[in-house]
């Protein structure tokens, strides 16, 4: 295959990758996007084989390796439970990082194969590129491993910080640059190895100070790193597909982590430089947030509800305080437009006066036939996809069913926990009228939406 032809195909594969990411922008096109990605990958691999044009023993061995790796990957993909997704992605990242390191090593050991000069006299630019690629790859690898361990729970999720951490990281970073400089000057392989090893260390150091809650951001950041590593290697190999993809993945990953930080209301730099801000926060919040809660935003809520077939709204005193009834009505209207079945479940003592919720819902013109009392609707929770609990607390507290010591024992409660997912809109984890904690906040199928009920509902309307 001529160089021009293969370059063209690599370009096509790069474009397919762009289309893949583009497809992911909406649920409707997302699967198509994935197919684009697969097509791009197939083309890239096929073109590589054709360009090398060697279909002898080596080719067969490569194929075998490919299949072995592929089977392992497929096996993992099918077996992994959906809940383990974040750690899986982290694990996969580590592989890409390591692969980048290996390719860089191979290129360093045998530059002729890549047209980069000969051992001991590798082209300057290529040397820089490959050592950068190796370094970033190594950081990605070890960083992802740490992230994986933290998410898997093998390592504690708590941030590990020590004095001088940032100075050490800075020092190591500079050291790597200095080493690259010397590598270029001397072409000594020991320096190359040193770079790789130090980079592994940096990866570890970068991730350990970051807390478990920030892991999604970190994963996305590592994703970005792996992209830059690929781009570096791409420059070494003068391969357009690698450059395009690397830059694409690199920048998209970085932006994604930025977007995620914004969504979680965290400072990007605090997260990425792990531990900068952590030290101050720790002291105050550790004792309270013992039990982990899942924290969502309006988009998550909108997504969940849009794709539900039935939603039950559970209003409480917080809805009244926030005067969220009108926004709530709007949200329900929007959901109904999406074909979702929505009903309201009114607990007999929700709010602070008998019929409190009824007054407000009537004000917002909610039709009476969508409003159900506890006894009418309590059985429906088990068939419903999402319970949207807005400013209610005590009236959902399952402790009333289980703990005779509890002050609310014996009160009938709404069985919201039986629905597939529960969204709790409230401002904090603080208790309601009865002053007792609600176990539901910490359940697996609960997503907490911490915000004023009206604001959150309005935002959900926007996202719908």
């Amino acid at each position: 295959m001529s160089a021009n032809l293969s370059a063209t195909f690599y370009l096509i594969s790069g474009i397919l990758f762009i289309l893949a990411l583009r497809g992911l922008s909406s649920p409707e096109t997302s699967r198509q996007g994935n197919y684009f990605g697969i097509a791009g990958m197939v083309i890239a691999i096929a073109v590589t084989f054709l360009a090398i044009g060697n279909f002898g023993l080596g080719f067969i061995v490569v194929l075998i390796f490919l299949l072995v790796g592929g089977s392992i990957g497929a096996f993992i993909a099918f077996r992994i439970p959906m809940t383990a997704m974040p750690e899986l992605v982290a694990g996969f990242h580590s592989l890409v990082g390591l692969a980048a390191v290996f390719v860089a090593i191979a290129a360093f050991l045998k530059p002729e194969a890549f047209n980069l000069g000969i051992v001991g006299n590798i082209k300057l630019a290529s040397l820089i590129e490959m050592s950068l690629g190796a370094a970033i790859g190594a950081i990605t690898f070890s960083g992802s491993i740490i992230a994986f361990l933290k998410l898997r729970g093998i390592m504690s999720g708590a941030p590990i910080t020590f004095k001088g951490q940032h100075i050490l990281n800075l020092f190591l970073g500079i050291l790597i640059l200095v080493l690259i400089f010397y590598l270029c000057k001397t072409q000594m392989s020991n320096i190359f190895w040193a770079i790789v090893i130090i980079s592994f260390l940096v990866g570890v150091l970068l991730i350990i100070p970051i807390g478990g809650a920030d892991m999604p951001v970190v994963i996305s950041m590592l994703n970005s790193y792996s992209g830059w590593a690929a781009a570096g290697i791409g420059f070494t190999l003068e391969n357009t597909a690698l450059i395009i993809t690397g830059a694409l993945v690199g920048s998209s990953g970085a932006i994604l982590s930025y977007i995620m930080c914004k969504g979680m209301n965290r400072s990007f730099f605090n997260v990425i430089l792990g531990g900068w801000g952590a030290s101050e926060q720790n002291s105050t919040s550790t004792s309270k947030e013992q039990k982990p809660v899942k924290n969502g935003n309006a988009d998550d809520a909108a997504f969940l509800m849009k794709n539900a077939s039935s939603v039950i709204i559970v209003p409480g005193y917080g809805m009244a305080v926030a005067q969220a009834q009108h926004a709530l009505r709007e949200m329900v209207d929007a959901l109904k437009k999406n074909g979702v079945k929505v009903s309201y479940a009114i607990h007999p003592v929700a709010g602070r006066m008998p019929g409190h919720m009824n007054v407000l819902l009537a004000e917002a013109n909610v039709p009476y036939d969508e409003v159900f009392e506890l006894e009418e609707i309590n059985n429906d929770f088990s068939n419903c996809d999402v319970a949207y609990v807005i400013g209610a607390n005590d009236v959902t507290n399952p402790v009333a069913k289980s703990d005779p010591q509890s002050p609310i024992y014996g009160m009938p409660v709404l069985d919201v926990e039986k629905s597939k997912s529960v969204l709790f809109v409230k401002r904090s984890l603080s208790p309601g009228y009865a002053g007792i904690d609600n176990d539901l906040f910490y359940r697996d199928n609960t997503l907490m939406l911490f915000a004023d009920a009206k604001k959150m509902t309005e935002e959900i309307v926007k996202s719908l």
Binding site: P348, G355, N358, Y368
Partner: protein
């Protein structure tokens, strides 16, 4: 020019044609005003409130009538008072010419100008003088408040620890001005509101207030050009009856407001329908003075039929005299404002003006 107004017979009419609110406006027209003593004290407006605005309070009605160029009233004055009126004086009020033909003919023969505001054409320009609208509106409101106060159950839905009170169901018969306000008020209180009317346009209007319209299928649009209702065909009435009979089983409160101008009010809620209703239900009939929309309606009486209370209210606005007087005086002022020629400082009987022409009481074309 002097505007005068004398006390009404407060046993039948508590509203007045002049409230303190409007006095300033008359002043800006340069008109003087006199009233009789204790004119509106029964509704909380003391004579001094009037005097503060420069109104002359005279000791008796005669003085007022003799002194004023224009006499403004709510209803038609008593015969004694009417006798005092003489040539070129003007009488403005709700004179109800069909019922008071005798008296009015008498006045006209004396060359007293009589303007009856119930004859006002329903044109856009006359809206600000439209006493039918302003009073019907309040009547619709009050009918709901009153009937809810009589009703022995709570109106809105309340889900409480001691069980659920379901929302009351209200039916409004006739969705004109009064009916629409009744719908709005009942809706506000949390009732489920149904309404029925013969004019098609009212469906959208009812729905614009959150009410449910009971559409009589295959109905023609029984609307006159003036926006009033025509009498319905027998076939229509039959269909309406069937629909209502079914609906009434679950209705708690009925507010009746259906009228046909110049005719007896249509009887819409029949005996057999009332028999289907739950004991404790209320029928509040605002059409009582025109005969009533319900079969057993008696003006100014509460009839109990099998536990259903049928309230026939003849002049409901006596229960809301302050608000209704305020609006009425504003209507009258707007009317005078149109009638009065500021340059010539006298009234201008310009019969080219549809408003003046139509409200002027004449019989047999004179």
């Amino acid at each position: 020019m002097i505007i005068g107004s004398v006390s009404e017979d407060i046993k039948v009419e508590k509203r007045v044609a002049l409230t303190p609110e409007i006095l300033k406006k008359y002043k800006t027209l340069g008109l003087k005003i006199c009233i009789s003593k204790g004119y509106a004290s029964h509704i909380g407006f003391s004579d001094s409130e009037y005097q503060n605005e420069g109104v002359e309070v005279l000791n008796n009605k005669e003085e007022v009538i003799l002194k004023s160029n224009i006499l403004i009233q709510m209803g038609i004055p008593s015969n004694d008072d009417l006798k005092l009126l003489k040539e070129n004086q003007t009488l403005i009020g709700v004179l109800n010419p069909y019922n008071n033909e005798e008296k009015l003919k008498n006045l006209i023969s004396k060359k007293v100008n009589c303007f009856s505001l119930d004859l006002l054409p329903r044109i856009t320009r006359a809206q600000s003088m439209d006493i039918l609208s302003s009073q019907a509106n309040l009547a619709g409101y009050k009918a709901v408040v009153d009937s809810f106060s009589i009703f022995e159950k709570a109106i809105p839905m309340m889900m409480t620890a001691a069980g659920t009170i379901s929302a009351a169901k209200v039916l409004v018969v006739g969705a004109g001005v009064a009916g629409l306000q009744a719908i709005a008020t009942a809706k506000r209180m949390g009732a489920i509101v149904y309404a029925t009317d013969v004019r098609m346009a009212s469906k959208e209007q009812v729905e614009s207030l959150g009410g449910k319209f009971l559409t009589v299928e295959g109905a023609d649009n029984l609307e006159t050009e003036g926006g009033y209702a025509k009498e319905a065909s027998i076939e229509f009435k039959k269909k309406q009856e069937d629909l209502l009979k079914e609906t009434l089983k679950k209705i708690d409160v009925i507010i009746c407001t259906a009228l046909i101008p110049g005719k007896k009010a249509p009887v819409i809620i029949k005996k057999d329908m009332i028999e289907e209703m739950q004991s404790g239900s209320i029928i509040y009939d605002l059409a009582a003075s025109q005969g009533g929309n319900a079969e057993f309606t008696k003006p100014n009486e509460v009839v109990d039929y099998n536990g259903v209370k049928i309230v026939g209210e003849k002049n409901i606005l006596n229960k809301l005299p302050v608000s209704s007087s305020n609006l009425y005086s504003k209507n009258v002022f707007n009317f005078i404002n149109n009638l009065y020629d500021k340059e010539k400082k006298q009234i201008d009987l310009n019969f080219e003006d549809e408003i003046i022409d139509k409200t002027n009481v004449r019989f047999n074309g004179n």
